[in-house]
Structure formats: structure tokens, C-alpha cells
């Protein structure tokens, strides 16, 4: 709206502009008839000037009307060019983007520093009656003040509390937080001024419900102030750690997705402070590329690594921390059915073969296998394990099954080997539905040579790196008895030559599982006797037992919650010293209290939402219980910035009212931009000019009777 008014009610005063019109027409009706001595001069003058006088008369009327109109408009406090309400009692919510990209260096300071300076000037420009609230958005989105503050020094001083973060700009979180703040605003509509670099982001399904929530909270109008311009640069977007448990001394390939700034850019890898490897990119400008670092897995423990590149304007993504957990052994809880007389030496379902494959008795093994009968399964035993392996288990009780599924939901892993035809009912009615797989089962038994297995995806971590000859050996193994399953939502990794799946992987909650529809008894297949049994199961179990959320070494993005599962060896002491649990953040190493939480029988240490990139260490006294490496979200490395106009259209698509772009205006002119410039003096000046014009045009009307003839003569 180009013209708005501080006191719109005074606009009723414009009705006074009708007075000259009324007077004009009333005076027309009051025509006096006067005898006059001689009309010759009047006749001459009138005929000569009749037209111009008629025009002048209407012009005089117009000037009077306009003059009164302008004075009435001036009294109403006109503001020109404002995009918001002109009222002095306004509520202004400033949303300051504190995300990682706001740390990009500009000519003078960072984008965040520029945004804070602009915000400070805008608050200073607000009238004293205005109320101010500030929401910072970057990793964690929260209001800066406990409640709305009057505009002034207090609010300006509060801006010093704003800290940069390495988190992402989350528009949905901004809208939700704005809704909470707007609901407590002293007046509506609330003008929401977004100070951000408007980094390009993909559309999020969470935006629409958040926008709806904001619209329900009260009337709002958005203004945007874009800080900074697109700056060239690159960064490390993500670190790809092995998708399985690794063993000390193992040669692995550690990958990373990077955004090179130029061709043949060098990225270096450090582990525990020592340079380990370098990688050189090929090509640039084509977006993210993958680089690989050959690494020999260090000893057991939690290892802190960093991938670096040379610094650019946005230094935040020029290095990325990660933590590599090397367990001394994967703890496998092998749950089996009670042996029956008919079972051979391999035990029910051949569980002893599996235990032997994972942890041969004649040497060190990366696995620590603990067999337990199904009837003896407890959640405590479950929580102390990295992986649960079920071999033809007896039907689990309701509580045990619920515990198992909850454990999976929390990030646990499980492997099921089911090949006993007597368990078909339990399999179809309970276990498969519980895992989210189709319940249809059909026990297959063939005679003769049986069917052979085929690897569907040789690049899968279970099979990746295997010698082709080994794969050939594996594919020569004969299968004679199995359950025919339907994969449903799962992924088939192995099939028989008859196309029946014999290895299905799936996910439930945060956890993952694999189902093998056979057991290891010799009458069912030759796998237990195959030389491939040991590598197959070790790889399968390593992959399933990869440290996920239920690990002492967790890699997350800034903005996520730091949660670790205490190291098994220390968890006991951690729980004993719950009141001494501390978490140290990245950067200054400041310590804060960590909380101990139990989920699905698993102890979890929580350190809150991470705001800065780096290592977060959980401590109990001098014991390190876990390490979290937080990296800047890849989206913060996006170089493209949105045009404020496009940003406005995007917001309008969410039914949000965007009323202006302040980017090209000085922050000190904020009020002029928001409420418009005070044009009352101009209007009064124009009114004065009109009145002078009226006096000049109609000066005869105000003349005193003319001088006597003696003066004329």
C-alpha cells in the first residue's frame, strides 16, 4: 500500500472538503439583485472574461477543496511507501538466520554480523510503542527473549546474546516457533522480518502444516532482508564410513562427498590428529563428487577423524569431523531353540555351526557370541548385545517379542534363521508380521541336487570385495529345504535358482534385520559344510551389527540431538555415576550436564541438540563414554542464494503474506520502508501553495472597497 495513515480515524476530516462545495452552491442560490447605474463596463468585462472567469471560479473551488483535503490528510498522519501498517503500536518479530552459512565471510564481517547490525538498526528505528521479539534459527530455533520487549536499548542489547551456529536453516521450525511467538504478541498483525542469506533449500513437506499453524496463530506479514551475496567455495558435505563393523588392522576405504572449488583440489584425512591420507578431485563445478581415502583401521576404540580442504569464504564446511568406532568385538546374542533328541550335533537348526562360524574356538574373533535358549531371553541380555541372532527359536512370549521389536525400533539389529517346518505357523502369524513382512510362507523341500544360490547385488556390503572365485564357491552350495517367502517391503539379497528369496533384509524403526528362511541342518542345505559359511556369516553379522544410533561413536549433523549408547565396558560405571555425567561441546570445550535415558532397555546418553560442528564427548569422571561427531549439514554448503522475490513467492505458495523486500534499503530507513515516509509536511506545504494560489486567483474576493475617485484621479 503506497499510502497509509497513523490515525486513520482522522480521515473523516476529509469530509470538510465538502464545505467549499456546499458553500459554493449555497452562495449561488443567494443571488442578490441590485440596481446599477450603468452596465456597459460590466457587460464589456464579463463578455471578455466570462469563460476565463468561469474556469477560474471552478479552479478556485477546486483549490479550496484540495487545500482542505490535504490538511485533513496531513492531520491523519500520512505515510508514503510503507509496506506495513503505519500504526505506531506494532509488533515486530525479527527472525535471524544463525545457520552455518551465515558464517560466510563478507567484505566486512560475516553474514550473521551484517544481519545483527541490520537488525539492531531496525530495532532502533522502531517507535517506542513497538514490541519486539527475536527468534534465532540455526540448528536450534528459539526465541531470544522470554517475552515481547518494548523496542529500545533493552532489545538492542539482547542481540549480543545471539550466537552463530553450524546448524541448518529449518523453515518449518521457524514457522512453528513464530506461531508460538505470534500467539503471545501484544498486537496483530505481527510483522515478521526475516534476516537471512536465503540459501536455496529444497521444499519440505513440513512447511505447509507449519505455515498453517502460523496462520492460525494470528495475522502476520513477512518482510525479508537478504544478507550477503553468492560466494564461490567448496566444502566437505559428508563422510561415508564403512557400512559395517570394522576390525583393527583391516584395510578399508573411507569415502567422502565433497564439493570441490577447482580441479584437482586436495582433500586430506586426519585420524586422531595424524595425517593419514589424501584424495584429489577430478573436475570442478559439476556439483558434489565422491573421494576415497585408503585407511588401515586403527586399534580398538573411538577415533576422531577430520577431512580438510583449504579454507574459503565459508570456513565452516572446509573441515568435517567424524568419529570411527572400532569395537573390540561385536557382541552377538545367539538365541536358539531347545535342542531335541533328533537334532544333530549342530544343535536345533544348526545354531552350533553358526556359533562356530562366528567365533571359531581356535583363534581370536571379532565376534563375541553368547548363546541363549529362547526361553531364557531377557531384555537385559538384549540391551548388552550388538546383534541378536535367532536360529529356529521357539515361539517368543508376548513380552519378549515386544521387547525385541522395541529394541529394533531403537536401532538394534537382528538376524533370523528359520527353517524348521514346525515353526511355519509362528513364522507366518507372529514373526513376519511383526517385522513388517508378508505373512505368506510355503515350506519347500526338494530332492536330488537341490537349488543353488545367486547373489543379486555383488556390491552390497555383505558381498563387496569378495573374490569372484569365492562367490562362485558360494553359489555352488545346494539348498534342499527352505521356506518360500515374499519380500514385501524388504530387499532380496540372495535367491535360489528357482527365484525363491533366501536372504531378505528389512528395516524397522531405527534398526535393521535380515531373514534367512532356512537353517543350517545338513538335510536342508550344504552351507554349514561350505568354506563360504564363515565369511558369509561374518560379513552378514558385521553388516547387521554396524554401529548405528545404538553406538558409542555417532556421526550426526548439527541441529540433531547428540545421543550415544555408552561403551559396553563403561556403561556400568556410567549408570553408577549418573549424577556426574558430562558432555563437552566442540570449540571451547565447555562442559554441561548430560542426561541418562533408557529406551527399550538400552541406556542412552543425551547431550541435547548440537549447535556447533565438532566433537561432543560424553564423560563420566575421567571415563569417555561416547563421542559424537557433528558436521555442518550438507545443505548449508549450497552456494546458490534465493532471490528475495522468489523467496516471497515461495512463502506466498504457503499462504503466507509477504509484503516487502527490504534488501536494497538501508536498515536505518526501516521505519520508512515499513510504515512509509511522513508526508504530512509535504501535504501541508502543498496545501499552503494551493491556498496562496487561491488567494492569488481570487484576490478580488478579499479586496477592501477600492479607493475614492480622488485617488484614482
Amino acid at each position: 500500500m503506497p499510502l497509509s495513515f497513523l490515525n486513520p480515524t482522522l480521515l473523516f476530516g476529509t469530509a470538510a472538503a465538502a464545505l467549499p462545495i456546499i458553500i459554493h452552491f449555497l452562495s449561488r442560490r443567494r443571488v442578490r439583485r441590485l440596481p446599477f447605474s450603468d452596465l456597459r463596463f460590466l457587460d464589456e468585462v464579463q463578455s471578455r472574461q466570462a469563460r476565463s472567469l468561469g474556469i477560474r471560479r471552478w479552479l478556485l473551488l477546486l483549490l479550496r477543496v484540495l487545500a482542505i483535503l490535504l490538511v485533513a490528510l496531513a492531520a491523519a498522519g500520512p505515510r508514503y511507501g510503507g509496506v506495513g501498517a503505519a500504526s505506531g503500536d506494532r509488533s515486530v518479530l525479527f527472525v535471524i538466520d544463525t545457520s552455518a552459512s551465515m558464517g560466510t565471510q563478507m567484505d566486512e564481517g560475516t553474514r550473521l554480523e551484517a544481519a545483527l547490525a541490520a537488525c539492531e538498526e531496525m530495532i532502533r528505528a522502531l517507535p517506542s510503542g513497538a514490541a519486539v521479539q527475536v527468534v534465532t534459527a540455526g540448528g536450534r530455533t528459539a526465541p531470544l527473549f522470554g517475552d515481547w520487549l518494548p523496542a529500545g536499548a533493552g532489545a538492542v542489547g539482547g542481540l549480543s546474546l545471539v550466537q552463530p551456529t553450524d546448524g541448518p536453516w529449518d523453515l518449518a521450525a521457524v514457522l512453528r516457533e513464530a506461531a508460538r511467538v505470534v500467539a503471545r504478541a501484544p498486537g496483530t498483525p505481527v510483522e515478521i522480518v526475516v534476516l537471512s542469506d536465503l540459501q536455496e533449500t529444497g521444499r519440505d513437506l513440513k512447511w505447509e502444516p507449519a505455515a498453517e499453524k502460523l496462520n492460525n496463530a494470528g495475522a502476520t506479514r513477512f518482510l525479508v532482508y537478504r544478507v550477503g551475496h553468492e560466494a564461490p567455495g567448496g566444502g566437505i558435505l559428508a563422510v561415508d564410513l564403512p557400512d559395517r563393523a570394522v576390525r583393527p588392522g583391516e584395510n578399508i576405504t573411507l569415502g567422502a562427498r565433497v564439493l570441490p572449488e577447482f580441479d584437482e583440489q586436495v582433500f586430506s584425512l586426519e585420524i586422531d590428529g595424524r595425517p593419514v591420507a589424501e584424495a584429489v578431485t577430478r573436475g570442478s563445478g559439476a556439483g558434489p563428487v565422491a573421494v576415497e581415502f585408503p585407511v588401515t583401521v586403527p586399534g580398538v576404540g573411538l577415533h576422531r577423524g577430520v577431512i580438510r580442504k583449504e579454507s574459503d569464504a565459508f570456513a565452516g564446511d572446509d573441515s568435517r569431523a567424524f568419529v570411527l568406532g572400532v569395537p573390540d568385538a561385536v557382541s552377538v546374542l545367539l538365541v536358539h531353540g531347545a535342542d531335541r533328541p533328533a537334532d544333530t550335533v549342530g544343535g536345533r537348526g544348526g545354531w552350533r555351526y553358526l556359533a562356530q562360524a562366528l567365533a571359531p574356538g581356535n583363534g581370536p574373533s571379532p565376534f563375541r557370541v553368547r548363546p541363549v535358549a529362547g526361553a531364557d531371553l531377557t531384555t537385559g541380555a538384549m540391551s548388552a548385545s550388538d546383534l541378536l541372532v535367532f536360529v529356529d527359536p521357539e515361539p517368543l512370549g508376548r513380552r519378549a517379542l515386544e521387547g525385541l521389536l522395541a529394541w529394533l525400533d531403537q536401532g538394534g539389529a537382528a538376524l533370523f534363521l528359520v527353517g524348521d517346518p514346525t515353526g511355519a505357523g509362528y513364522l507366518s502369524r507372529t514373526l513376519l508380521p511383526g517385522l513388517g513382512l508378508p505373512p505368506a510362507v510355503d515350506f519347500q523341500a526338494v530332492t536330488g541336487a537341490g537349488q543353488h544360490v545367486r547373489v543379486i547385488d555383488a556390491t552390497h556390503p555383505v558381498f563387496a570385495g569378495l573374490d569372484p572365485e569365492a562367490v562362485g564357491t558360494f553359489e555352488e552350495v545346494s539348498w534342499r529345504r527352505w521356506f518360500r517367502l515374499t519380500e514385501g517391503e524388504g530387499t532380496v539379497l540372495l535367491t535360489l535358482t528357482g527365484e525363491d528369496p533366501v536372504l531378505i533384509e528389512g528395516a524397522r524403526g531405527e534398526g535393521k534385520f535380515a531373514v534367512l528362511p532356512f537353517n543350517l541342518l545338513p538335510q536342508g542345505n550344504d552351507l554349514a559344510a561350505s568354506p563360504m559359511a564363515l565369511p558369509f556369516f561374518q560379513r552378514l553379522v558385521s553388516w547387521l551389527a554396524v554401529p548405528g544410533r545404538l553406538s558409542a561413536a555417532v556421526n550426526i549433523d548439527v541441529g540433531q540431538e547428540a545421543v550415544v549408547r555408552p561403551l559396553p565396558s563403561e556403561s556400568g560405571s556410567a549408570m553408577e555415576k549418573a549424577e556426574n555425567l558430562l558432555v563437552t561441546g566442540p570449540g571451547d570445550g565447555e562442559k554441561a550436564a548430560a542426561s541418562l535415558d533408557w529406551q527399550g532397555g538400552v541406556p542412552l546418553l543425551r547431550g541435547g541438540t548440537v549447535a556447533r560442528a565438532g566433537f561432543i564427548t560424553f564423560l563420566a569422571g575421567s571415563d569417555t563414554l561416547g563421542v559424537v561427531a557433528a558436521g555442518i549439514p550438507a545443505m548449508e554448503s549450497t552456494l546458490e542464494l534465493q532471490d528475495p522475490h522468489d523467496w516471497g513467492k515461495m512463502m506466498q505458495d504457503l499462504d503466507l503474506d509477504v509484503i516487502g523486500d527490504l534488501s536494497d534499503q538501508a536498515p536505518a530507513d526501516f521505519m520508512a520502508s515499513l510504515g512509509g515516509r511522513d508526508v504530512a509536511p509535504w501535504l501541508l506545504g502543498c496545501a499552503l501553495v494551493l491556498l496562496l494560489g487561491e488567494v492569488w486567483l481570487g484576490r478580488g474576493a478579499r479586496m477592501r472597497p477600492g479607493p475614492g475617485p480622488e485617488n484614482v484621479s
Binding site: R30, F36, L39, Q46, V712
Partner: protein, 298 residues
């Protein structure tokens, strides 16, 4: 100077013209420092002793030479001036822009009465012609005392006139006034100025001295009316002009001034005295103009 009590507004309330004439003239004469008519075309009457302080212009130096005494010569006044007052009684002379002021005709009547009184007091002969588009009444010029009453009688009963044909009337009157003398025209001159000048030329051609008292109302000159007004011509009933005077005031005054300037210029050219008087002007102005003219003549 006259008594401030005898303003045109107050004179109107006196009613009797003879009283008006006497009061105006006596008041006017009392205000003068010396007799305006002393020494005019007079015959010697006697001597009287000079009193210190008197002007020495009439000292008889021969007597002084013989007697070594100062004597003044005293003259008996004698005149041969014949003055004819021409009074415009047309409808336009009935105009007044303010009810508190006399109409132009009334003002002209008062002035004519005062002039008659003054003329007769100087033993001049006074005549009167009233007219509108034609002569209405005519009193031949006489110097008798009772002539004043003849003149005042006509002035007391001035008729409501119609339109003006001043030029034509002047020609007619010029033909009828045979002896050379002084013509005193009292009119607003609201007629074709060229015809008026033509009429005045006629008088000059006949050897008359002419004084024109142009009597106007102040409102006529400055069009000092407010609001929307419908003016009706006094000499042409039914002819009206509707206007907002304030819008035309400047142009009107300009045009009016041109007209007056034309009259001034032509009167000057014809050696006619033009005395512009408004109805709020004291009568002394008219009387003074007459006396100046009289002095120049004799």
C-alpha cells in the same frame, strides 16, 4: 474647511435645501483665511484706515504720498458672471452603493444648491437646467436674491429620470444659453463619452467656461460588492447581468479607469475643468473647484 458635521451623510438629514446651502457655504467660507471674492471685479466705494497686519495690495499709495497715512481702498463688488447649473436627473443618478450615503442625484442637488447660494451671495447670476434624455426644467439665470428660491424649488422637486442622452442634451442647452458665462455640469457622465465631449465642445465654442462635476458613487468605481450579484441596469429596466463581482473587479476597475482617463484627457484638451467627486466627498471640494475657476476667470 467645512464643519465636520456637514458630511454628505448628515446633510441628507437636514431636509431643507436652503438651510443646506447656507450651512454648507457659510461653513465653507468661515474656514477660509481670506475672503475668496474680495477684490473681484469691484467698483471703488470708500477709504478706510489700514490696520497693521492687513495685506498691502490695496493700499492707496497716492493718498499715502499726500497725507503720509495708510488708507485702504474699499470696493463695491459688481459682477457680470452668469452661471448655469446643468443637473443630470437620469435614472443612473439615482444610484447609491450604500444606504447611508445620498444618491448621486441627491448629492448633485445639494452641491447645486450650495453653488447657487454661493454664486448669488457674490451677486452672480444663477440659472438651472435639469435634464435626463432631454431638458426637464429650466430656470433662466438671474442675480436676484429670490432667484435662490426659484432654483431651490426646482432642486427640491427633482423628477425620477429615465435614460441619459447627455451629449444630445448638452447640444440643446448650448443653443439655448445665449450669453457667455459659466456652465456647471453636475452629472455622472454615464453616456457615450465622445458625444459628451462633443456637447462640451459646443459650450466652449459658444464661449462658455465649463466646469464638469462628475459625481460617482464609490461602489461604481471599485465594484465593491461581494457574493454573486445580479445587476439590473437602472436606465434599462429588465436588462440584467449576473456575476461574481470579485472575479471581475480588476478588469472592471481597469476599464472604468480607461473611461475616466479619456474624459480627463478630452476635458483638458477642451479647457474644461473636470472635478471628480464621489458621494462620500465633502462638498468643499466642489465649492473650492468653483472658486478656483472663478478666480481664473476674473
Amino acid at each position: 474647511m467645512s464643519s465636520p458635521l456637514l458630511t454628505p451623510e448628515l446633510v441628507g438629514h437636514l431636509g431643507r435645501l436652503d438651510l443646506v446651502a447656507r450651512l454648507v457655504v457659510e461653513g465653507f467660507l468661515t474656514g477660509l483665511h481670506k475672503s475668496p471674492y474680495h477684490g473681484f471685479s469691484a467698483e471703488f466705494s470708500e477709504y478706510r484706515q489700514y490696520i497693521a497686519g492687513e495685506p498691502v495690495s490695496h493700499l492707496d499709495w497716492r493718498v499715502y504720498a499726500k497725507t503720509d497715512r495708510h488708507y485702504l481702498k474699499v470696493f463695491t463688488e459688481e459682477t457680470n458672471l452668469r452661471a448655469t447649473l446643468l443637473l443630470d436627473c437620469s435614472a443612473s443618478m439615482d444610484f447609491t452603493g450604500d444606504e447611508s450615503r445620498p444618491t448621486k442625484k441627491a448629492y448633485a442637488g445639494y452641491l447645486a444648491a450650495a453653488l447657487s447660494y454661493l454664486l448669488l451671495r457674490q451677486n452672480d447670476a444663477v440659472g438651472l437646467v435639469t435634464f435626463d434624455e432631454a431638458p426637464l426644467a429650466m430656470v433662466p439665470a438671474r442675480s436676484m436674491r429670490k432667484q435662490l428660491f426659484q432654483v431651490l424649488k426646482v432642486l427640491d422637486d427633482l423628477p425620477a429620470g429615465s435614460s441619459t442622452r447627455l451629449g444630445k442634451v448638452l447640444h440643446r442647452v448650448a443653443e439655448r444659453v445665449q450669453r457667455r458665462g459659466l456652465i456647471l455640469l453636475l452629472s455622472d457622465m454615464m453616456d457615450d463619452p465622445e458625444r459628451i465631449i462633443s456637447g462640451l465642445k459646443h459650450f466652449r465654442h459658444k464661449g462658455h467656461e465649463v466646469i464638469v462635476f462628475q459625481i460617482l458613487d464609490p461602489r461604481e468605481m471599485d465594484l465593491g460588492f461581494h457574493g454573486e450579484v445580479e445587476f439590473e441596469a437602472m436606465e434599462e429596466p429588465g436588462r440584467r447581468i449576473r456575476m461574481e463581482p470579485s472575479h471581475l473587479r480588476e478588469s472592471y476597475r481597469q476599464r472604468f479607469g480607461q473611461w475616466q482617463e479619456y474624459l480627463r484627457r478630452e476635458c483638458r484638451r477642451q479647457l474644461v475643468d473636470l472635478v471628480e467627486i464621489t458621494t462620500d466627498t465633502p462638498f468643499e471640494k466642489g465649492l473650492g473647484a468653483y472658486l478656483q475657476k472663478r478666480r481664473r476667470m476674473y
